[in-house]
């Protein structure tokens, strides 16, 4: 017996399969992330970029801990699972021991900026030939919407109920801006997945970052702003605009640094 949630607006036609598309290199497409989450879109961008660059049989993805960890065991590229915050040092070990690999880290803002800031800064300063990818939604989504080091001022979380207050909670760290100032970085950019246009632009940023790694140009970094309607305590359909108005107003999308020749 199937169960359905009560609704005031029942569909006027029976459900039908629109498409049976499984994204590239994502084996089963199944995940248990919330409706409206931006992380599956970001993951798909990463996988498509690896596939397009024909790096599938050279890549090792090092995963942090967050909602996106749901993807660590359903990808068709090799995966090494790290602790919360520690992916850049594991990625360093993989790359130094096997320089032929293409190594990417998948981390959230809580993982990379709150718990693991030291790791990513030092990896960048070493000019480590890895690509770190941060999925930034400004909250600890997996624990249920708590304040991270990138939560913007005024943003409501379970540990900043009246909104993040600079006097009480401090100010957000703009990691991309910080990394762009470090000499060891070759490419630093910030994208978003709240619209089709931004998804396409984000994929181009990822392709550029992979190119930097292929050319041994140094540390490459792509921050991707993702929606978290659950952790933001808003309606699912409001999340893309909320991302635009709140997060992107502080963590501005764009290419912050690119030392590669055109």
């Amino acid at each position: 017996m199937s169960t359905s949630l009560p609704t005031n607006n029942p569909p006027d036609e029976p459900s039908r399969l629109v498409d049976d598309f499984v994204p590239t290199l994502i084996d089963v497409g199944a995940h248990h992330l919330c409706p409206g989450c931006g992380e599956p879109i970001a993951m798909r961008c990463v996988m498509e970029a690896i596939d397009e660059r024909e790096l599938t049989a050279r890549s090792v993805a090092v995963f942090g801990i967050g909602c996106y960890t749901a993807f660590s065991n359903n990808l068709d590229i090799e995966v090494l699972q790290a602790l919360h915050g520690r992916a850049p040092s594991l990625a360093t070990g993989v790359k130094r021991a096997k320089p032929s690999t293409i190594v990417v880290t998948i981390q959230g803002d809580g993982d990379m900026v709150s718990e693991g800031l030291q790791e990513v800064l030092h990896a960048a300063a070493r000019g480590e030939n890895i690509t770190c990818i941060m999925l930034n939604n400004g909250v600890f989504g997996e624990t249920g919407g708590h304040m991270t080091a990138t939560t913007v001022l005024g943003q409501r979380t379970k540990t900043s109920l009246e909104g993040r207050d600079a006097a009480l909670h401090g100010r957000p760290i703009l990691l991309s801006s910080l990394l762009a100032q470090i000499d060891g970085t070759a490419f630093v950019a910030r994208g978003a997945v709240n619209s089709a246009g931004n998804v396409a632009r984000t994929k181009k940023l990822l392709l550029r970052a992979l190119t930097a790694q292929e050319q041994n140009a140094g540390f490459s970094f792509v921050e991707i702003l993702t929606m978290c309607p659950t952790g933001w305590f808003i309606e699912t359909e409001e999340a893309p605009d909320y991302l635009n108005d709140k997060l992107a107003a502080v963590h501005e999308p764009g290419v912050l640094k690119d030392v590669l020749g055109q």
Binding site: A57, L80, Q81, S89, T92, G93, T101
Partner: protein, 364 residues
């Protein structure tokens, strides 16, 4: 990879313990090492930084012990024989990763060039979270350390479980004549990551949460994975032979137990007492985990008493008592003994002091 070092045993040479350990690691096949300077571990890192690149290996001076263990974790996942280390304090920082590396079933050799002997619990019980055990080897001098480093790399490769080599300040900083064994090459294991299984529909996964892919319709099942880890640990414990140095126990009325470098001083005290006609025997556990419990139980059957020396408040004491199982009184004749540096120069490690303490036990 070209090896400049000739693949045969070298002539005896006068080496500090730290350098002997580093040379032994390279000879045992270690090709990745990461660390953060801390006395008395520092010299091992120095020597590895100098010598590992000469054989095509990588040595990283990490930003902290957290990154040092992380880098070794990543390198170990590529199947590269890897090691890291510190003193007990630095290993405290590494414990979270050590727990997860064990649950990810990765091989790794971990040095603890400890200060005094306060890290027995940390090494044998593990200072991290969760349900795991590490094999722990405890050399008494540089020559034995060389053998145990080779054994550590063999054991960690065989059991895919970290192996701790517990040394100390004396071991690190005392020079003696030693022979470094022939260079060993190790096969890359089939589970190692290099990216090449990507796109095959069976891409490899190394994770402390398990290795079952969602495609197999199970996803991560932590209950199953942890149970598998326990089974692997039990098989390891059942098959790793406990090692100990045993001397004059057959007719002994008193057995003295000590480990590590202090064990050599206690052995000297026992020999002096023997020459004075005191019926005393000596056991020095070499594998601290698995502890040579059966051997201690057999040797102490029917003795008058057992004495334990260690340079701490009494940690191995627990394992000795568990082995003796109440068949004889177990006296603690050790205790924290430090100079002002805290590194582990022990005023108590004076043979006449140890002789007096053993005589006190004999008189009881």
């Amino acid at each position: 990879m070209t090896l400049r070092m000739a693949p045969q045993a070298k002539d005896p040479q006068l080496l500090q313990g730290s350098e002997a350990i580093a040379d032994a690691m390279i000879a045992a096949g270690c090709r990745f090492f990461s660390g953060y300077p801390m006395t008395p571990f520092t010299e091992v890192l120095e020597v590895m930084a100098r010598k590992l690149p000469e054989v095509g290996g990588v040595c990283m001076n990490a930003e902290s012990e957290l990154e040092a263990i992380g880098m070794a974790w990543g390198a170990a996942a590529t199947g590269t024989p890897s090691a890291t280390g510190s003193t007990g304090q630095g290993l405290s920082l590494m414990q979270e990763s050590l727990s997860e590396i064990t649950l990810a079933r990765l091989p790794l050799v971990v040095l603890n060039m400890g200060r005094a002997q306060g890290d027995y619990y940390q090494a044998t019980r593990g200072g991290g979270h969760g349900d795991y055990r590490h094999l722990v080897l405890s050399p008494a001098d540089a020559a034995e350390a060389i053998d145990l480093i080779g054994l550590a790399f063999d054991l960690t490769e065989r059991w895919r479980n970290p192996v701790v080599v517990l040394g100390d300040y004396y071991l690190a900083h005392t020079a003696r004549s030693v022979t470094i064994p022939a260079m060993k090459t190790r096969e890359t294991p089939e589970w190692a990551l290099d990216g090449s299984s990507g796109g095959t529909r069976h891409a490899k996964l190394i994770s402390p949460l398990g290795t079952a892919k969602q495609r197999d319709d199970v996803g991560y099942d932590i209950a199953v994975h942890y149970a598998d880890c326990v089974a692997a640990t039990n098989e390891m414990i059942a098959n790793v032979e406990p090692l100990a140095e045993v001397e004059s126990t057959d007719d002994a009325e008193i057995i003295v137990v000590a480990f590590g470098t202090p064990g050599a001083y206690v052995r000297a005290a026992v020999r002096q007492l023997r020459s004075d006609g005191v019926a005393v025997g000596f056991i020095r556990p070499i594998t601290l985990f698995p502890f040579p419990s059966d051997l201690v139980a057999r040797a102490t059957q029917g003795v008058k008493s057992v004495a334990v020396y260690e340079n701490n408040q009494g940690q191995m004491l627990d394992d000795v008592r568990l082995a003796v199982l109440g068949n004889a009184p177990v006296h603690f004749i050790g205790g924290l003994s430090l100079d002002s540096s805290g590194f582990g120069i022990a005023p108590d490690l004076e043979v006449s002091v140890l002789v007096d303490r053993i005589r006190e036990v004999a008189a009881q």
